[in-house]
Symmetry: C2
């Protein structure tokens, strides 16, 4: 949707002409999810078995040779790789002139490099437990700002021949919005209703994710309180009662309020940038609605 909006922001009138690139983003995301599930050894995704689990079960069920888990993982790595190259295939189906298509591909390539850099940084900060506020916001910029918001808008815009001024304006709109989206997601992960968010309130803690709200809490807490929260990060045996303790510590430290304030300030920054963009009224309204939808939500 953001790619289509970026396309319209630059004066594009035919959504179908850039449907290939829009689907390419979805296909790339499929690759990321399948590979992430291998990395996180996840059992389910969207309430269904993950690809590697599905193929491990198939292997076991049919009594094939070798190790079932290894087979499942091998298939999942390949499926992700196939999705990755099919994204290029879809992208190349855009019906725009050659010069614009190549410019779009360059922005799409930058998007992919950024999300992987963000993914690696995220992995390292979670594993070393040493991510500070700056590192957390850098991950949020790369994995959410650029990947989820700014670059899709930019790809759409350059495919319609949008100039550097428009692209720069879309970036000032997209980067803070993407970060706000990520922080909202982190808050929902801890304080949301699991039946609505689809994930348990302890899962981010158990994975040791260094989110803004966690980093803010660690900076504000002292002594035993800080040690308690710190010990929970990355503890895979964490239960719902531990999560309740963590939530109480985070709330009391003021970190939840700080993170909520960060979302509000970032959305304001984003909307202020939107006001300076010279785009069609319908597009401006759609972008404004998108900003609300991404950051003011329960699931």
């Amino acid at each position: 949707m953001l790619l289509l909006l970026g396309h319209r922001a630059a004066g594009g009138t035919d959504d179908d002409a850039v449907m290939g690139p829009a689907l390419a983003l979805e296909m790339l995301h499929t690759c990321a999810l399948v590979h992430d599930d291998v990395i996180d050894r996840a059992d389910t995704r969207r309430a269904r078995p993950t690809v590697h689990r599905e193929y491990a079960a198939l292997h076991a069920g049919r009594g094939m040779r070798g190790d079932a888990d290894a087979f499942g993982e091998a298939v999942a790595i390949l499926v992700g790789d196939v999705a990755f190259v099919q994204a290029d295939d879809l992208f190349l189906q855009a019906q725009v002139d050659d010069r614009r298509l190549l410019e779009g591909l360059r922005a799409f390539t930058a998007l992919r490099e950024e999300v992987m850099a963000g993914q690696y940084l995220d992995l390292v900060t979670s594993t070393t437990g040493q991510g500070d506020r700056a590192a957390v916001l850098q991950v949020a910029t790369l994995k959410s700002g650029r990947y989820s918001v700014t670059r899709p808008l930019e790809v759409g815009a350059v495919l319609a021949g949008g100039d550097a001024t428009l692209v720069e304006g879309l970036r000032r709109f997209g980067d803070p919005l993407g970060r706000a989206f990520q922080v909202r997601d982190d808050l929902l992960g801890l304080f949301g209703r699991p039946e609505e968010t689809g994930k348990s309130v302890q899962s981010d803690l158990a994975e040791g994710k260094h989110t803004l709200v966690i980093v803010e809490a660690l900076e504000r807490l002292e002594g035993m309180d800080r040690d308690r929260l710190s010990a929970m990060l990355g503890d895979h045996d964490l239960g719902a009662d531990d999560a309740a303790v963590a939530r109480e510590l985070i709330e009391r430290s003021g970190a939840r309020r700080a993170a909520e304030a960060y979302v509000v300030a970032s959305v304001e920054e984003s909307l202020a940038a939107l006001d300076t963009l010279s785009v069609d009224d319908g597009v401006a309204k759609a972008l404004r609605d998108m900003a609300t939808r991404l950051t003011d939500r329960d699931t």
Copy 2:
């Protein structure tokens, strides 16, 4: 090198203009190797630790959180993904006109889709133990013919504006040559000198690889002989003495001779196609030398 030769075959004179795409093929291959090593759980590559082992060791050495092997695998999957996208980045650096660059990208995308299809087919035939001669040759066409020979030539050719007749001719040259290369590789894996090939004579057997020479042997052997060879495929505890038995069975069945004859016939088919190509004499000689180099070798 094949991409540069394809480029020259179509009249290209400036190798530097297509160095980006040539390096893209190397970078793609880096992705394939890193992901394959995860899939095969390999410890070493080119006499050095594989990426996943290197990062698992780093994790263990620094006493990071969580499981060292899982961290190593996560990094290796990401490193492969980064190499994959850097291949696109390099490709886009070609200095050719936009139309040709996009045509080259489309051929590069087909190359990637084919090699993954071949990889999956290879995985399934090894795992089910049900690859027949046709499946083996299909894998050899996709993973060696197209990936290693034909598509690199084609990408180079279209980047220089080569037409469909040239591309078709290069395919008739490349597909059989790539298959011959693969069968030579399989023969060296079994009958070569480990100190020269860099791999043990039992490794293909232990992995249960369905190669042409193995399939030919299974088709020719009967009774207990067939059962003995069949039981060795995919047996990870295989030793050098078992490999000696396997080699003797394969030799006696006539499968080795049949595979050698296949290499000779395929190279002849390839060189006959080369004679029909209208390319510069220097390029024709280089392609002929390449055919010899790929199929008449000890390592």
